[in-house]
């Protein structure tokens, strides 16, 4: 690769063809290297869903239905998520092409989850966790694929595999599958993203 003689670009000297192509590649690469997700949202949801699923499993085991109210925590998580998104957007100096697409996918996911929860509680559908796991897999797999982030691709696939397993498992035990899915699809990828983000941030100082 050619190194440009003038790196501060103040010079108006005409470029050679090779220099022009090298400059284009260098600038595109600079944007690529700058793009790092904080991982906060994935960690938040991975943690909350794991916790709620485990508490629900305990509720099933010890027969304490009031413990299922733990899912109300997701309302608090939504509020925290909105604050995180607003703060991250304010800090961001550019928007990528995929930001709007990803935003649309995750908002659709949140809305679908809310509607499925309402539907499942109204009609008492059997193996509802299988349905949730199928939906968990959609934005996770889509995000992994579009970002080229393998942990989320595997996370999405794991959600769908666990959804199939849920169809053949007694309802209460499927909460354990939800906990595993939340870890594999969100919490672990979130940890990886967070580590990358902090590394990139310390490198930029």
């Amino acid at each position: 690769m050619l190194i440009l003689k003038n790196s501060n670009m103040e010079d108006e000297t005409p470029l050679s063809e090779q220099e022009s192509l090298a400059l284009i590649a260098r600038m595109i690469n600079k944007v690529k290297c700058d793009y790092e997700e904080s991982g906060l949202s994935t960690l938040l949801w991975g943690g909350v869903i794991t916790f709620c699923s485990i508490v629900s499993f305990i509720a099933f085991e010890i027969d304490k239905p009031w413990l299922y109210n733990v899912w109300d925590l997701t309302i608090l998580a939504v509020i925290i998520q909105v604050i995180v998104v607003i703060r991250e957007n304010r800090r961001k100096k550019y928007r990528s092409h995929s930001d709007a697409i990803m935003g649309g996918i995750w908002i659709s996911f949140g809305t679908s989850m809310f509607l499925i929860s309402f539907y499942a509680s109204k009609f008492q559908i059997p193996h509802a966790n299988a349905l949730y796991l199928i939906v968990y897999g959609i934005p996770t797999f889509a995000t992994g694929l579009s970002r080229g982030f393998k942990p989320m691709i595997y996370g999405g696939l794991a959600c769908w595999a666990l959804a199939i397993a849920s169809m053949y498992t007694q309802d209460g035990y499927t909460f354990l599958y939800s906990a595993v899915a939340a870890q594999v699809a969100w919490f672990i990828p979130g940890l990886i993203l967070r580590k990358r983000y902090q590394k990139a941030k310390s490198g930029n100082v």
Partner: protein
């Protein structure tokens, strides 16, 4: 017959700005300044030239009580950039075959 290279794009800083903007949906002036290492004055002049050519759109607004300039590439800019890259490749192809 060779296509003439677009003189608006065939300049180091303007090409750098366009290469950044083609990679993103929109970018703040400070981001472009940081990535190109250009001075604010020179960058403003080049951004203005690109805007006059219709290659980029510039939006000025307030962010956290501070003025904030955001740039994004237009359809005309994308087309010009693609044609510029195509022309460069043609030049290089001929250069290699000689």
């Amino acid at each position: 017959m060779f296509k003439e290279l677009d003189p608006i794009l065939h300049s180091q800083l303007r090409l750098a700005i366009m290469s950044l903007l083609i990679s993103v949906k929109e970018a703040e002036f400070t981001f472009i300044k940081e990535k190109t290492n250009a001075t604010a004055g020179n960058l403003s002049v080049q951004v203005q030239k690109l805007k006059e050519a219709g290659y980029i759109d510039v939006t000025k607004e307030f962010k956290d009580n501070y003025p904030n300039t955001t740039c994004h590439i237009t359809q005309q800019g994308i087309k010009a950039f693609e044609e510029y890259v195509k022309a460069l490749q043609e030049y290089l192809k001929v250069g290699q075959s000689r």
